[in-house]
């Protein structure tokens, strides 16, 4: 359908493999945790769109609608490599905002955000909305921590763990979580499946609510191809079976609803 084409405002390298892309777009209302599907090329290689979280809304401060969005992405393969060569001023084909985003935390004593790698992305808008939340961030090495400064601007409680100890604590982010968790907390987590599975187990043991934002490879992004299925725990089985679609039923799920053993890690 005819729509005003969205344009690239900027596409800046933030460090070795990381880019920030601004896209001019009179956005509809965006909920923290939603994502977009981006067509990186109008050729056939790669063929499918690529999913990216909405990092920030450009425009009037603190609003859920704006004049554009910012993506943060890491170059990991050919799609993101091509994206990194796109120029300001170019049209860009973006579908969204998609998915459901994080539920607002009401009635919790403490909000703990847990992010691994690019798992930071969907948490930023949420972090901006909430005051006094804690962010626990895990990465392999210092070079992956470049965006943590964005959070430090308005958050006091930011703790970092790196696997090689090159920044913050040496170790895994889930170890930080073990220390921070307390009853009455709520957890918002995003990162690799292994980390989320761990965080979910820690939350369950502490009897704490935990929301996770999942990633699966996606063909359509809107619940049509049924490709991005994850297994939910049986008691939540819907009419269409025990699989939930990450794109349209998520990407955010209550971690208690996910069958964590179903992932072939």
């Amino acid at each position: 359908m005819e729509e005003k084409p969205k344009k690239i405002l900027y596409n800046r390298q933030a460090s070795a493999h990381y880019y920030r892309m601004g896209i001019s777009w009179a956005t509809p209302t965006i909920a923290p945790g939603q994502f977009v599907m981006v067509r990186v090329t109008d050729g056939l290689d790669p063929l499918l769109r690529r999913p990216f979280g909405i990092y920030n809304i450009l425009g009037p401060k603190g609003k859920s609608r704006g004049t554009g969005i910012e993506l943060l992405y890491k170059v990991v393969g050919k799609g993101t490599r091509i994206l990194s060569t796109r120029k300001p001023g170019d049209d860009i084909d973006v579908i969204g905002p998609l998915g459901d985003g994080f539920p607002y935390p009401s009635g919790f004593r403490k909000v703990i955000m847990v992010a691994g790698g690019m798992g930071l992305v969907p948490l930023y808008l949420m972090a901006k909305e909430l005051h006094g939340a804690t962010l626990l961030f895990g990465a392999r090495a210092r070079e992956e921590t470049v965006f943590i400064k964005d959070f430090r601007k308005f958050m006091r409680n930011v703790k970092v763990a790196t696997e090689d100890g090159s920044y913050g604590r040496k170790g895994l982010v889930t170890e930080l979580l073990e220390e921070e968790i307390s009853s009455g907390s709520v957890i918002y987590a995003c990162g690799p499946i292994g980390m989320l599975k761990q965080a979910s187990a820690i939350a369950r043991r502490a009897d704490v609510k935990c929301f996770v934002s999942l990633e699966r490879s996606m063909a359509c992004g809107i619940g049509v191809c049924l490709g991005c299925a994850v297994k939910s725990r049986p008691h939540k089985g819907s009419g269409s079976g025990v699989y939930r679609m990450v794109c349209s039923d998520g990407p955010v799920f209550d971690s208690a609803d996910i069958d964590w053993d179903s992932f072939n890690l």
Binding site: L48, C220, L226, G227
Partner: protein
């Protein structure tokens, strides 16, 4: 040349007694139940919508990963997850029947009786224009070999469905066969009103670092532009023997791609994987075909099978 063809009739075709305002449909499993794409394209401009494959009971589908991208294509192993025929009628048809387009229900089963029963439940449902039988499914009574690769089994399914319903029946053929013409003849003999082809081609991709298949089910179905040359060839072969209309499917991204199928012998086409890439592909294809027809002063009807020797 039909210089006098009117705008409307230029694009229109008739298949199995149904009038399609244009020859571009969306393919089963790639367009949900229609409503999902409503925000992204004008559903009323489609020639038709073929809904996700329906079975008697709801099906949960396969474990993930279910899709993987391949060069100019993708593999899927959804496992025919669907809401089941009853939920479809109750929950999905109310939206679909209000659209100004044809609605075709794609059906499947694991036994001939399954097929028959799904078809019966759909027969007479208001707003449904036709059935498309997906015969690529494993026949549980015959050790899991797909109905779609054995002519006699395909014949059994199609006759059973055809004799149980009043709705027009389209049979969707599997490309995983030595000779598509044999399958076309078998299902035509069984009374199908039209054939559609191709369904996906069985494929596989391997994660070499983990040494395991990238799909949880190991193999899946290949779709997308990669398979288009194979699909065009099969449609052309089918057209050499078919006495009923053919609907061409496989890797169509643009009007030009759709025209390849029509010229090779298809009366209409279905667009699948391209919907994921651009939800507006089908409508753009309609526009592109119309532009072509005007430029060449012809109509879809005259173009069907017009490939020069």
């Amino acid at each position: 040349m039909n210089k006098g063809v009117k705008k409307t009739s230029r694009l229109a075709v008739e298949i199995a007694g149904i009038r399609f305002k244009n020859p571009v449909l969306t393919a089963s499993g790639t367009f949900g139940y229609g409503s999902e794409y409503a925000p992204y394209t004008d559903l009323g401009r489609l020639g038709g919508i073929v809904v996700k494959g329906l079975s008697l009971e709801p099906r949960a589908g396969n474990p993930g990963p279910r899709t993987v991208e391949t060069p100019s294509g993708m593999l899927n192993a959804i496992g025919l997850q669907n809401v089941g025929v009853e939920s479809f009628i109750k929950e999905k048809m109310p939206f679909l029947r209000r659209l100004k387009t044809n609605v075709i229900a794609n059906i499947f089963g694991e036994t001939v009786e399954d097929y028959k029963e799904v078809a019966r439940r759909l027969d007479g449902v208001a707003g449904l224009t036709a059935l498309e039988i997906n015969i690529s499914c494993p026949n549980v009574k015959k050790g899991g070999i797909a109905f779609g690769v054995v002519p006699t089994e395909a014949h059994r399914v199609v006759s059973a469905v055809k004799s149980s319903v009043g709705l027009p029946v389209i049979t969707k053929l599997s490309p995983n066969v030595t000779d598509i013409r044999v399958m076309v003849k078998a299902v035509e003999e069984a009374g199908t009103d039209a054939v559609s082809l191709i369904n996906t081609i069985t494929g596989m991709a391997v994660d070499v670092e983990k040494r395991r298949a990238l799909l949880a089910t190991k193999t899946g179905g290949l779709s997308g532009p990669a398979i288009r040359p194979i699909a065009v060839r099969m449609v052309w072969e089918a057209a050499q023997v078919a006495t009923r209309p053919i609907i061409g499917i496989g890797g169509i991204m643009t009007a030009k791609d759709a025209l390849e199928f029509i010229i090779a012998g298809a009366s209409a086409v279905q667009i699948g994987t391209a919907n994921f890439v651009d939800p507006d592909s089908a409508v753009k294809a309609v526009d592109g075909i119309e532009e072509y027809l005007k430029r060449h002063r012809t109509s879809v009807k005259d173009l069907i099978g017009s490939l020069k020797a």
